[in-house]
């Protein structure tokens, strides 16, 4: 089989789910005739028609609102944010209407909001964001952020089939850069389960999305220096796979968290708290973190590079941690 990019894997998931269940519809800006800004929905309109693939006005609140209303009638809408940054425009609809629906009055909202996220492509302050933590802090949502083509396909399928609203982050740096053979048979990847990308004894690097690849590269460098790092890809941020985090921490006794999200209020802080609660006695050193800076995502390449976590920064932090 030919290798498939993450973008193609996402498209495959959409086509297969659309084929499987007529209750699945898609809404978004330029997703129909144009096939989406990144072509994730290319061909979907031609095959499934304008009743199921709906080109909308530039109205994020209306898009998510309409999708919510559709889900109340038993449909499973998949909403595209042209860039995930624009989810800020419908923050109220997502966090107050959609997220609280089941808790408040028992009305499930089986909806997926997916969109390209993340930096490294010189998109500047409004086309590079990692806004996942706004939503990880919102009970009622699920937040998924895959790093491989296999996971993207399997997790998107799970997200579409889930009875809860799922935010599905697609790291645009990875869209065409990660490739792999996918099984020809149908599969899904469960939401809420982390994956061990590399087994190791000396320390644990917890990461997700593009930063998971950065962490793996750093682990290869560290290996040559005699540091055996375990790399875990969280894949889902809400619900977080506490068991995977704690069991790896108990195994290596040292934990480094790497994320491309900004530092303050990032998932690293939550993970540090979880480890203090449930694995404190097993830790040999402080929970370390390598993150983006606490700034907006800058535009110019040297600035952006300085802003983002890098292989060097991860390796350096791991060396420090390994000394404990």
């Amino acid at each position: 089989m030919a290798e498939v990019t993450m973008l193609e894997a996402i498209r495959e998931a959409l086509f297969e789910e659309f084929e499987r269940d007529p209750a699945i519809v898609a809404l978004g800006e330029d997703i129909g005739v144009f096939g989406g800004a990144f072509k994730a929905t290319e061909g979907l309109l031609a095959k499934f028609g304008p009743e199921r693939v709906i080109d909308t006005p530039i109205s994020e609140t209306a898009i998510v609102g309409a999708a919510c209303g559709m889900s109340y009638l038993g449909l499973r809408p998949v909403v595209e944010m042209q860039f995930i940054d624009f989810i800020a425009c419908c923050f109220n609809q997502v966090t107050n209407f959609v997220a609280k629906s089941h808790y408040r009055w028992g009305a499930p909202v089986p909806m997926v909001i997916r969109g390209p996220s993340g930096g490294g492509v010189h998109g500047g302050p409004f086309h590079s964001a990692n806004p996942e933590m706004y939503f990880v802090h919102t009970p009622g949502l699920k937040v998924v952020y895959p790093s491989t083509a296999y996971d993207a396909k399997g997790l998107l399928k799970s997200a579409i089939r889930d009875n809860n609203p799922v935010l599905f982050f697609e790291h645009k740096f990875l869209y065409r850069r990660v490739k792999e053979d996918l099984p020809s048979a149908e599969y899904t990847v469960p939401i809420g389960k982390a994956a061990v990308r590399r087994e190791g004894r000396d320390l644990t690097i917890l990461s997700y999305a593009a930063a998971a690849h950065t962490s793996l590269e750093a682990a290869q460098i560290l290996e040559k220096e005699g540091i055996d790092a375990e790399v875990i890809d969280l894949r889902t941020l809400l619900p977080l796979d506490r068991d995977a985090i704690i069991s790896s921490a108990k195994k290596t006794s040292k934990v480094l968290v790497v994320h491309e999200d900004t530092r303050t209020g990032g998932i690293a802080g939550e993970i540090a708290a979880i480890l203090c609660e449930d694995a404190f006695g097993y830790l040999d050193g402080p929970v370390a973190r390598v993150t983006a800076l606490d700034t907006p995502v800058p535009y110019s390449p040297p600035l952006e590079q300085y802003f983002l976590p890098s292989v060097e920064k991860v390796a350096a932090a791991a060396r420090e941690l390994a000394k404990y």
């Binding site: 095959k47 028609g49 109205s59 107050n96």
Partner: protein, 442 residues
């Protein structure tokens, strides 16, 4: 206004309006007895709007109430006990104490969607309900309400615009009760008629006397029928008056006394009682029977609510996610094959018939409806009314005139002579004195 409603139906309208009012008066008493957990948002004076609009819906139709639409909830089938228990935060309430007031709904049977407190957000949601209903072949209509104040939110505009582009079967009732909390409508919207908002979306609209139950019903029935025939969405402005404060804590001293007096003389229930009497639809005995029934039902349900327990604390942790507790199932009323390939497949190109150049002076265009592009050859003929068909009978006549004569609104109220923006605008209107190079002082 003429009506085809039977005598029984007209008496039922009275029943619901009076039930609405008596229920809320009991809520006020309970509030004063400290038995209500949160606020009580009175709809006194607006009962004809809630009841008259929702009475035009069929059981298969969907509605989403706002805070002052308890009457609509009663018409759709909720019981006074649901309202009592919601306000008293009891375990027996439809939300089991998770939310209060009119914030509850029922997906399966009554087709009611719970509102949130942020205004306007229901409009896109109900547009989506209408779109989904059409997709599933259900021939339903969605109805929701918005206040004069709420019509200024972004969600209102986004939602109504999307509904218009999609020709969604949505009836939006703009309940103009003159006050957005303490702010009069004139400071919210620079329009005499809020129905004029419809012009911006190329949709039909009507203005109705919101204190005339029959007129409200007939206008709503027309709107519901239009939507069901594929000629939605429709905006109805119901002109009415909020006769109490925003909520119980608010004595509404900012409202001129004369204004209350004016509207009190037009009380919707008193007017309707007079109407029933003048048309020989009832007599004192019938009225007494209905009133007694209302008292009986309210007694029973209030007692139920007062005797109900509060929820057990640990349930606070439950129900954030659907973990198999609900089945998500669409009610298909058309063959699924129609929305699957090959039947659903189209050529993915836009068919643009209007190239968009100016063809007439812009002002004259005010009354014309822009023709949206008609895409995908297969899709268009399925709809009864082509989206490109011009819509007749909207309220544009009034509209265009109002917009044309309305003076630009710029009131430096509350900011005084130090209002620099105002000052600057004044200077810009006198170009000879204006020096563009003058620096703005901060």
């Amino acid at each position: 206004m003429e009506t085809k409603l039977t005598r029984e139906q007209q008496l039922e309208l009275y029943y619901y309006m009076q039930l609405n009012r008596q229920l809320e008066e009991r809520l006020v008493r309970l509030f004063r007895q400290n038995k209500i957990v949160g606020g009580v948002y009175s709809s006194m004076g607006q009962e004809a709007v809630s009841v008259g609009t929702s009475y035009a819906l069929e059981p298969r139709d969907w509605l989403a109430p706002m805070i002052r639409n308890i009457g609509a909830l009663l018409v759709k089938g909720f019981k006074p006990r649901d309202i009592f228990t919601q306000h008293m935060a009891k375990a027996t309430s439809p939300t089991h104490g998770k939310d209060g007031t009119s914030h509850f709904g029922d997906l399966k049977n009554l087709h009611v969607i719970s509102p949130i407190s942020m205004l306007g957000e229901l409009i896109p949601v109900m547009a989506g309900v209408g779109m989904a209903g059409r997709y599933l072949g259900q021939k339903i209509v969605a109805m929701t309400w918005i206040g004069d104040g709420g019509s200024s939110t972004g969600a209102f505009h986004e939602g109504l615009n999307l509904a218009a582009v999609q020709r969604a079967p949505l009836v939006l009732v703009l309940e103009n009760n003159q006050w957005a909390y303490s702010t009069p409508v004139s400071r919210q919207v620079p329009l005499k008629n809020l129905a004029d908002r419809a012009l911006a979306y190329g949709i039909q609209s009507r203005i109705v006397d919101g204190n005339d139950a029959i007129a409200v019903y007939e206008t709503s029935k027309w709107a519901v029928d239009e939507c069901r025939a594929g000629r939605g969405p429709i905006l109805i402005e119901a002109k009415t008056m909020r006769m109490k404060g925003h909520a119980q804590h608010d004595p509404a001293e900012y409202v001129p006394k004369e204004m209350f007096a004016y509207w009190k003389a037009r009380d919707p229930i008193a007017r309707y009682e007079k109407y029933l009497t003048e048309h020989g639809l009832w007599d004192a005995k019938v009225k007494a029977e209905i009133d007694a029934r209302i008292e009986r039902e309210l007694d029973e349900d209030q007692q139920f609510a007062e005797e109900s327990p509060l929820p057990s604390p640990e349930t606070a942790e439950q129900g954030v996610y659907c973990e198999g507790c609900h089945e998500v199932q669409a009610d298909w009323r058309r063959p699924k094959e129609q929305v699957m390939p090959p039947a659903a497949s189209v050529e993915a190109t836009w068919k643009v018939s209007d190239f968009g150049a100016a063809t007439a002076p812009p002002r004259a265009q005010n009354t014309a409806h822009a023709k949206p592009a008609t895409p995908y050859h297969k899709a268009a003929p399925q709809r009864p009314a082509s989206p490109s068909a011009p819509l007749e009978g909207s309220s544009e006549k009034v509209v265009a005139q109002d917009i044309a004569v309305a003076p630009p609104l710029r009131v430096p109220f509350g900011r005084g002579p130090k209002d620099r923006v105002f000052e600057r605008e004044q200077q810009q209107n006198q170009p000879s004195k204006h020096n563009p190079r003058r620096r703005r002082r901060r």
